[in-house]
């Protein structure tokens, strides 16, 4: 809802969609918009003592941030908070904790071992990626950064989010051949990303860096080698360009295809092993079935997407529902599980790996037979892009964790005036209290693992 610059006040959408809670806090924090009737309008990404709203137009970059010692008192002050109810205990889980997958701070109130109240404190990894993108040129300088949002090898998926947005903004048509390469690369990334989700989830439930984590890493390693051959880098790919990709498949092509084929052929066996070790294990089932329950209505209200939503029986996948790339030409299925619990989120990921393998298989077949003189990997794009003033655009792709959307407002220059990232992890993490209040601490940890958040994308 637009507001005026002089009086930036808007109405809160929190009562309608719970997801508005965090998103409005973020807008307040970074841009400085006030929301009426918002239940809890605090800073979310920046420290509480921060002065000013850095993405606001009137923000003075050079003004020093001065916080008095009193204001800057121990940020973990809550540690000594005396709860009114003497039966409960306040615990800081994180920012440094073996199972928070990064620097996440969960302020937890427990009653014995049961979680009574929980509040995620994020922003430890905030790098102001949005501002960095606002300072980069559309044509070149933004593309390296999406790799660094969800840095767990989901790079190409993120790059695609930016590529899609900017290409639609500047009316660039991507050659079909490049689209197939993109689709293949993106699905490889999805496999790599799901593998690590699987491994770390097992890690949270098993308790040590043990076998299953290593096996997941081993299989991810193969994907990463393929991606390295393709893009030249293992995680920070910077492989997409507006209008296509930067490199054709590596020569000799047969060898490259062979590598992918080998991987796809071995995958069912590897998955079989995972099923033997994870999903068919009775203890794991006891731990995950029926815990961390996220009913579909709640998931929708919180704007959960990706495997988290699909594990709650929501049949929503942008690859199919708002098709881009080459997906609508290929034969694959959207994976949905109705369990709403940690187990079904795990299953969704494992089955999505199979679907991705199917897609890659088809892409490889297509690429192999592609006529040699039609291998056009990049459209002609002018060296400088200057979209017209006040054009706005929002486009999203199905990232590894869910709907990764980008909003750009152009101001006639070669850099975006506003660059907003709608990160799936940010919304997904918001559901954590719903999933774990009333559950045990171990289940809270398992739920957190099953959300598969990457703090780089939550905090941006």
């Amino acid at each position: 809802m637009p507001t005026s610059k002089d009086n930036p006040v808007s109405q809160s959408a929190e009562p309608v969609f719970r997801t508005a809670d965090w998103h409005e806090r973020e807008a307040y924090d970074l841009v400085g918009i006030q929301y009426e009737d918002h239940p809890d309008l605090r800073r979310i990404l920046l420290p509480d003592t921060w002065q000013g709203h850095p993405l606001g137009l009137d923000y003075d970059q050079d003004r020093p941030q001065i916080a008095t010692l009193r204001e800057h008192a121990n940020p973990l002050e809550g540690d000594h908070r005396s709860a009114g109810d003497s039966n409960t205990m306040y615990i800081n889980i994180g920012p440094h904790h073996p199972a928070t997958h990064g620097v996440l701070h969960v302020e937890t109130v427990v009653d014995g071992e049961q979680v009574v109240d929980l509040d995620s404190d994020i922003g430890y990894l905030h790098r102001c990626e949005e501002q960095m993108c606002q300072q980069g040129t559309y044509r070149h300088q933004i593309m390296p950064y999406p790799d660094r949002w969800d840095y767990i090898s989901a790079g190409l998926l993120n790059e695609w989010a930016y590529a899609r947005t900017a290409e639609d903004l500047a009316d660039i048509e991507v050659p079909e051949y490049a689209q197939i390469i993109r689709t293949m690369g993106a699905e490889l990334c999805r496999i790599a990303s799901h593998m690590i989700a699987l491994g770390t989830f097992a890690l949270d439930v098993y308790g040590d860096f043990t076998a299953i984590f290593m096996y997941a890493m081993r299989d991810r390693e193969i994907v990463q080698n393929i991606l390295e051959d393709l893009t030249g880098q293992r995680m920070m790919f910077n492989y997409f360009r507006l209008g296509g990709v930067v490199w054709d498949l590596p020569e000799p092509r047969e060898e490259f295809f062979e590598k992918i084929r080998d991987f796809i052929d071995e995958l069912p066996q590897a998955l079989e092993e995972y099923h033997d070790m994870i999903t068919s294990n009775e203890i794991l089932q006891a731990r995950t079935v029926g815990t961390g329950v996220l009913p579909p209505e709640v998931a929708k209200s919180y704007g959960a997407t990706g495997p988290v939503a699909r594990g709650s029986g929501i049949d929503y996948d942008l690859r199919r529902d708002d098709s881009y790339g080459y997906y609508d030409e290929l034969d694959w299925d959207v994976v949905v599980e109705d369990g709403c619990d940690n187990f079904s989120r795990l299953l969704v990921r494992m089955r999505e790996v199979e679907e991705s393998a199917k897609i890659i298989q088809q892409c490889v077949d297509l690429l192999e037979d592609w006529p040699e003189d039609e291998r056009n990997i990049q459209a002609n794009v002018p060296r400088t892009l200057k979209p017209e003033e006040d054009t706005e655009i929002y486009r999203a792709v199905e990232g590894a964790k869910g709907e990764l959307g980008i909003y750009i407002r152009a101001d006639g220059t070669d850099k975006p005036a506003r660059f907003k990232i709608r990160s799936p992890c940010f919304s997904n993490l918001q559901t954590l209290p719903e999933m774990s209040e009333g559950e045990y601490i171990p289940d809270m940890i398992a739920s957190l693992g099953s959300l598969d958040i990457v703090l780089g994308e939550v905090d941006r």
Binding site: H140, M143, Y145, N238, P250, S280, T384
Partner: protein, 153 residues
């Protein structure tokens, strides 16, 4: 119970087959692809001091100092902040800057991570891979070959 036993069987199989997938670095160096992007190599002879790489670099890693006749004096790379996006290599019209396969470099302080043109020149290739060769087939897709205004300064 069956599931638990299956899991134990799988792990035991892995333990007994003796296969490992980790390598003993640095004795066994990992394979890097010919496209890998590591520390830059800079060729002073080739550079025409067009400053395109400096302009394209998203985070001001490259610093070029010219005298008043636009002859190059300094070419400094703040390698510690480089994100290895390889855009500099892509825009360079004469292949004066190339990212090698070399990822093994260390320093004690941040200041040691500023490489000048001499140091950049001496960056060794990694395992004799010549990136220029390996990149040639794709060069026509790189930035600068597309139509539209080309702004050589």
């Amino acid at each position: 119970m069956i599931g638990i036993l299956k899991g134990m069987a799988v792990t035991l199989r892995h333990a007994l087959d003796g296969e490992t997938f980790t390598v003993e670095y640095p004795e066994t160096a990992p394979e890097v692809s010919p496209r890998f992007r590591g520390v830059h190599k800079f060729s002073q002879e080739r550079c025409i001091w067009c400053r395109q790489c400096e302009n394209v670099c998203p985070n001001d890693t490259i610093q070029i100092v010219q005298d008043d006749k636009r002859n190059g004096e300094q070419y400094n790379l703040h390698i510690g902040q480089c994100i290895y996006c390889r855009l500099c290599e892509e825009v360079c019209p004469v292949d004066a800057i190339l990212l090698t396969q070399n990822f093994e470099f260390t320093a004690d302080t941040k200041n040691d991570f500023v490489y000048n043109k001499e140091q950049l020149k001496n960056v060794p290739w990694y395992k004799d891979i010549d990136p220029l060769n390996s990149r040639n087939p794709d060069r026509n897709a790189w930035i600068g070959e597309g139509e539209g205004e080309v702004d050589y300064q």
